[in-house]
């Protein structure tokens, strides 16, 4: 076996060894289930001014858990993180750009660009 092939196989083994056990993944899924239950609770109970921030925080935490553990990004090469983060940051830039259309692109006649009137 040549050096390049051996190195590649070592890299693969390393990736697999650093994942969680099946029980670990089940625990992660239970945490996600509980977080989803808390999210749904905001529909049935009035959380007042903390409702929207709570939902956004829960969404980000669930997103982070799935990406880190189920998608192995926490244990895998940083190259994958960079590829994914690039898309994610660009997506948020698209969201921000569209958001500005609701604030800045006002028509003097009273019909703003985002109202489709």
């Amino acid at each position: 076996m040549d050096t390049a092939t051996a190195s590649e196989e070592e890299t693969h083994d390393e990736h697999h060894d650093h994942g969680l056990s099946d029980v670990g993944y089940i625990k992660i899924a239970l945490i996600l289930g509980v977080l989803t239950a808390v999210e749904v609770a905001t529909y049935f109970f009035d959380f007042g001014i903390v409702e929207v921030p709570s939902l956004l925080i829960l969404m980000v935490v669930k997103f982070q858990i799935v990406v880190s553990y189920f998608m192995h990004l926490k244990f895998d090469s940083k190259v994958f993180s960079y590829l994914f983060l690039t898309g994610l940051i660009l997506a948020m830039a698209v969201f921000a750009a569209m958001g500005t259309s609701m604030v800045f692109w006002q028509d003097p006649t009273g019909c703003d660009a985002s109202s489709f009137c």
């Binding site: 040549d2 390049a4 989803t36 969404m59 994958f80 983060l85 690039t86 109202s115």
Partner: protein
Amino acid sequence: MADIDEIDTSNLAYGRTDWDDYHHLPTNTGLTNEKVTMWAFLGSDCLLFGALISTYLLCRNRFGPDTKGPTAADLFDIPFTSVSSFVLLMSSLTMVLAVTSIQRAEMERCKLWLLTTAALGSVFIAGQVYEFTSFYREGLGYTTNISSSAFYTLTGFHGVHVSLGIIMLVTMWVLVSRGNLGPERAETIEIIGLYWHFVDIVWIVIFAVVYLIP
């Protein structure tokens, strides 16, 4: 980096039909091209869904000229959608169990988890079809207003992604069942798993931003 003359080319995939002897080409990064490509695709798919979610948020309470009718938000059945969301979330667990099974060469267990994941995905799609049908009966068609167009486009695109994922999972199940995909190619299942988890995280965002935030 190995000298090109030192690389053993006897196991390379070119022209070979024996799947058991399949080996990846060595790369400079030590990462396989297939996995890098999938992550690059998922990054680009973030842009697609970013644009669709942004469009929905911009249009959620807008009707357009000479159009009326309810908005999707008026018709949401949150308890029903919560169950669908939970089903899709749990399918991510069964998917990751399929990956760990094939890495341990437990092929029967891998097949079971693959099929379970596909079944949970199908339940989610069935729920979406039911939701769309009930919305349509309530008077919310695709062209009823701008809000409904944005809603159906966003959730419809997600549904198409889930459906493609189900097709890929069933294909993997067939390959594993026929013995064409063994533990030495566990990364193939892992890559399909990445796609499936991505579909799940997109729904995490849609469920919170579209359905739950008033």
